[in-house]
């Protein structure tokens, strides 16, 4: 590659410095004891305040706290059986890959913890591209250091931690040329955004509810019947009166299809889409997530989770229910 062309891609990446590198991602689960326990077991960390409520109080805390080094773990993306990354490549990495620097290894982590996290805290991650180095000769080969800045906030929007994450993107050694590019340590999170649903006056509240992490269904103000999709009039008693009813998010699969085509950006295919009977009685359509297509069955208990693509764009996706 000529020097001119190589600088061409590099200046493109540099022009994106400061931009959002992935859509914001909110943790699938709040900070919780089971994940803390698994982490402490793996690391051999026996700090009592991480697992024992009374010990936490004795050490001057209000309750159990998560190990600070778990900061990154809450928003990491989910397991996928084929090892494929779930959506979202960090901004700029495709250009670095295209320039031939296809291998990745994490080199630096710098973290600041502004407060200890407690069980129940719900963490949202935002990441921006922070910079890219000139070409460097390293022990692994020729490459560029690419730096990302992660900010983690809690359910109140307060910043709880910050991470500078640096990876070396390098040209793989010749013998490993055939190997697929691997992300040695690049953190994985978030998804590309699918198109936004069409907004109508009747349906607006339904979509807006997800931003508040609420599943709202239209309830007739006269006969109390829930009906969905939302329309201007109750199909039962013809009343125009209505209120939004917050549902628990629990339900069972009434029926489903597995979508292969057409493939819409922002979703992973094959994509199971289900008709879900909510326990309150309404029936809604939603994507399933974290359930292999061949594991989906009618009657499967599911619960809602919320996938944040942008601060004001959140969609529901149902997963297999593990409790209750």
């Amino acid at each position: 590659m000529s020097q001119v062309r190589s600088q061409d891609w590099l200046s493109k990446v540099r022009a994106m410095v400061g931009q959002e590198a992935l859509p914001p991602q909110t943790a699938a689960d709040p900070v919780n004891l089971p994940m803390i326990r698994r982490w402490c077991e793996a690391m051999g960390d026996r700090t009592p305040a991480f697992l024992d409520e009374q010990a936490a109080v004795r050490s001057g805390r209000a309750s159990v706290v998560a190990p600070p080094a778990m900061l990154f773990a809450w928003t990491m993306s989910h397991f996928s059986p084929d090892g494929e990354r779930e959506g979202g490549t960090l901004l700029g990495l495709d250009l670095v890959d295209a320039a031939g620097f296809t291998s990745v290894v994490a080199t630096n982590v710098e973290e600041e913890y502004f407060r200890e996290l407690r069980c129940g805290d719900l963490i949202t991650q935002r990441v921006t591209l922070d910079g890219i180095s000139d070409e460097k000769k390293t022990g692994l080969g020729v490459g560029h250091f690419v730096t990302y800045r992660y900010e983690f906030s809690d359910q109140r929007g307060e910043l709880v931690g910050r991470t500078i994450f640096r990876v070396l993107k390098f040209r793989p050694p010749a013998k490993a040329k055939e190997a697929a590019p691997v992300a040695a340590d690049a953190p994985r999170a978030a998804k590309a955004s699918p198109p936004r649903p069409p907004m109508t006056k009747d349906g607006e509240f339904f979509w807006a509810g997800f931003v508040e992490r609420k599943l709202l269904v239209r309830q007739c103000g006269q006969c109390g019947r829930l009906h969905h999709p939302p329309g201007p009039m109750c199909p039962e008693c013809n009343s125009l009166e209505w209120t939004p009813r917050e549902c628990s998010g629990r339900g069972t699969i009434h029926s489903f299809v597995v979508m292969h085509q057409p493939q819409i950006p922002g979703h992973q295919y094959p994509l199971p889409v289900a008709l879900i009977d909510l326990e309150e009685g309404a029936r809604i359509v939603a994507n399933l997530q974290g359930i292999a297509p061949d594991k989906v069955r009618i009657g499967l208990p599911v619960e809602v989770q919320y996938v944040e693509y942008e601060k004001d764009f959140v969609l529901p996706a149902f997963r297999e229910r593990r409790t209750g």
């Binding site: 090892g83 994490a106 630096n108 691997v182």
Partner: protein
Amino acid sequence: MASAMTYDGVQAGQQLPGLDIPITASLIVAGAIATGDYSLVHHDKAHAQAAGTPDIFMNILTSNGLVQRFVNDWAGPAARIRSVKLRLGAPNFPGDTMKLAGTVKGKEVVGPDKLVDVAVSGTNSLGEHVTATVRVALP
């Protein structure tokens, strides 16, 4: 945890008790799962070899976790880690041992916080796996 550290009881130059961590495939995989990192090179040996490394290797978030556990072991239950700066070098492969060593670099009082900086290094048979500075608040 032998005895808990206090700010007044800690001096620059003080050494932390060393810690040897046997690097096993199980530790690498358990660490990868605990930190939510399902990249193939941290659990799939065949894939790691196809990508040009001799075996699976530890992910950076596990190295971070082990470094902080090492500091927590020494500092005691009331310590609170405030920040870390960590750099990785030689990979941790199964069958190796990482020797963690630490030295108190300095201390300062910032507002209500009594902060101690600990320099940590973890070496294996290939060289320096990790160097880090951990800032911890002590009672």
